[in-house]
């Protein structure tokens, strides 16, 4: 039910992001979704990729600091209140969303949103109990 996200430490300077996309492109790794969080000095690039191991090993070899983060890809109905219902059920159980970002591709009629929870396993249990569809990692990477 979980998915692997590649997190990359980047300095805030021109051309750094392009460096990552170039390396992944040459390794023939497809970027499925991304989010970038930054401060004035540094940023963290978060990626869902078609081949996690390959992307990680290649970037590591090029000297980047990378990490594996466990995230959950949740199908969210593409209509008003769709996201709110999900956030509401999690909030009632005291689950905290560290960050989230949208997946480019839809799954059927549903949008796909990547969540980083503070308590991943409990979050998954709650979503399952409420019949919220979760996209498993291998499906997600090739959606």
């Amino acid at each position: 039910m979980k998915a692997d996200q590649l997190s990359i430490f980047l300095e805030n300077r021109a051309g750094r992001l392009a460096e990552v996309t170039k390396i992944l492109s040459e390794a023939k790794v497809n970027i499925r979704a991304l989010s970038l969080a930054d401060t004035s000095d540094f940023g963290i690039l978060r990626l869902i990729v078609s081949d996690f191991e390959k992307a990680r090993d290649t970037l590591k070899k090029e000297g980047f600091t990378v990490g594996r983060t466990t995230v959950v890809a949740v199908e969210v109905p593409d209509r008003p209140g769709g996201l709110h219902n999900i956030l509401d059920m999690l909030q009632k159980e005291g689950i905290n969303v560290e960050y989230m970002y949208a997946f480019v591709q839809q799954s059927g009629n549903n949008a796909v949103i990547i969540f980083r929870f503070d308590r991943t396993d409990q979050a998954i249990d709650i979503l399952k109990a409420n019949n919220v569809p979760i996209v498993p990692g291998p499906t997600l990477y090739n959606l």
Binding site: S7, F9, D38, F42, I44, G63, F64, T65, G67, E98
Partner: protein, 433 residues
């Protein structure tokens, strides 16, 4: 004004005779009372009686800052605790600071040396001294304070910080002399300008500046912005504090060393060989009169040269030139001594940060800023911004707590820091002094 004409204008032969007598007594004292020196002398096969004159000084062993650290806190003291009346200490991580003690006579001598120094700056009992050196463990504040009182001048113990208030006090009290670090003097002038006060219109006429390296161009800058005569003072806590040497206002060319208390040599920092007057090398000081913590041939790591020619002011005391640099990697940031190794140990103690770091020192306006760039490796990396920011804050807090200096910590990618032949370049000093 010459505060102590007998000592300050003594013919050099007489001075050397006095130094010889005091050096002999010192060597006997340390051999009898400080196990560290007894061991060193024994290892070299030197007996106190072997010393005939100043020409034998070169045979005596050196003392290093590390020796003081190894004997932390009181291992180098030559007197029992009941004779100590004061303790000072330099910055350092726990257990690594250098601690110095003073007997009643040491404090008295220090005050007299500092009074002489103020006299060299043309300060008299008529003056009002604004003392913005830090009061506390740092020797600057109290050192100047006792000297001012010894001289009979009035002293305002402002200490450091509260810059706007300082400007207000300078204006309201009308101090005629200011003592602080040279960079702080410029910061004061800038702050005053922002407050609509022109420093040049204040009654200040002399500045006694020290505790950090500065230059002739900085002197000109200070003199024009502050409208006073800027003079250089030298001292270090290990041998006493401020007042070891001071520039006279008459010649404004070199700092007179209080040679009846401090025997100065210049050595080649690589070989340890003595160098003749005029040649640049490392200043080595032997404390001739210190009772609590006498030091034989203490290596200051400060680079300068000596000038024994007579001075226009009438003093016979030799002059040392402005400090030109260091023979080790010590940095002086806003008057605080910082060794890269101290920063390294703080980084390692902070959540096991990698020892790959670089120190960038800049001078923004008048004040030094220290930036520590630390490489982010996998063990400390997080996908959450707040975790990384917390790490930066922790480093800054620990640096402030242990070293007493404000620094900015910046996380950088691995291997972005300049490495020369596999060895990282640790220090980038962008200050133009």
């Amino acid at each position: 004004m010459i505060f102590d004409p007998e000592m300050e204008t003594r013919p050099r032969e007489d001075l050397e005779a006095l130094q010889t007598k005091r050096l002999k007594a010192l060597v006997e004292r340390v051999y009898a009372n400080v196990p560290f020196y007894r061991k060193k002398f024994d290892e070299l096969g030197i007996k106190p009686n072997d010393l005939r004159g100043l020409e034998n000084l070169k045979d005596l062993p050196f003392t290093e800052k590390q020796d003081l650290r190894n004997n932390y806190p009181f291992g180098m003291f030559a007197v029992s605790k009941e004779n100590i009346v004061r303790i000072h200490s330099s910055s350092g991580t726990t257990g690594k600071a250098t601690v110095v003690g003073y007997t009643r006579r040491d404090v008295k001598n220090w005050g007299r040396c500092m009074a002489r120094a103020l006299g060299m700056a043309g300060v008299t009992s008529q003056d009002l001294i604004h003392n913005a050196y830090g009061y506390g463990l740092f020797t600057g504040g109290l050192g100047v304070h006792y000297g001012a009182e010894e001289l009979g001048a009035a002293v305002i113990p402002v200490s450091g910080g509260g810059t706007k208030r300082q400007v207000m006090l300078l204006k309201d009290f009308g101090a005629t002399v200011i003592c602080c670090t040279p960079s702080y003097s410029l910061f004061l002038a800038e702050t005053a300008k922002d407050m609509g006060i022109d420093f040049r219109e204040l009654p200040l006429r002399v500045g006694v500046f020290g505790a950090e390296p500065w230059s002739e161009s900085m002197r000109k800058d200070i003199e024009s912005k502050l409208g006073l005569m800027a003079l250089d003072i030298y001292g270090l806590s290990e041998v006493m504090g401020p007042g070891v040497a001071m520039e006279c206002h008459t010649a404004q060319n070199g700092l007179h060393i209080m040679e009846d208390h401090f025997l100065a040599e210049i050595i080649n920092p690589e070989t340890g060989e003595q160098l003749p007057p005029g040649e640049v090398g490392e200043l080595v000081i032997t404390t001739l009169t210190k009772e609590a913590i006498p030091l034989v041939r203490y290596r200051t790591r400060d680079l300068t040269s000596l000038n024994t020619t007579p001075c226009r002011c009438g003093r016979t005391l030799a002059r040392m030139n402005r400090i030109m640099g260091r023979s080790d990697d010590m940095l002086i940031i806003r008057g605080v001594n910082v060794f890269p190794s101290q920063i390294e140990s703080i980084l390692v103690e902070t959540e096991g940060l990698s020892p790959h770091y670089q120190l960038i020192i800049k001078r923004k306006g008048a004040l030094d800023s220290l930036e520590i760039e630390v490489e982010v490796d996998e063990p400390i990396f997080s996908d959450k911004i707040k975790n990384l920011q917390l790490l930066e804050t922790k480093v800054q807090k620990n640096i402030k707590e242990f070293l007493g200096v404000t620094a900015k910590c910046k996380l950088v990618e691995p291997k972005t820091l300049e490495r020369s032949v596999g060895k990282a370049k640790r220090i980038v000093d962008l200050r133009k002094l």
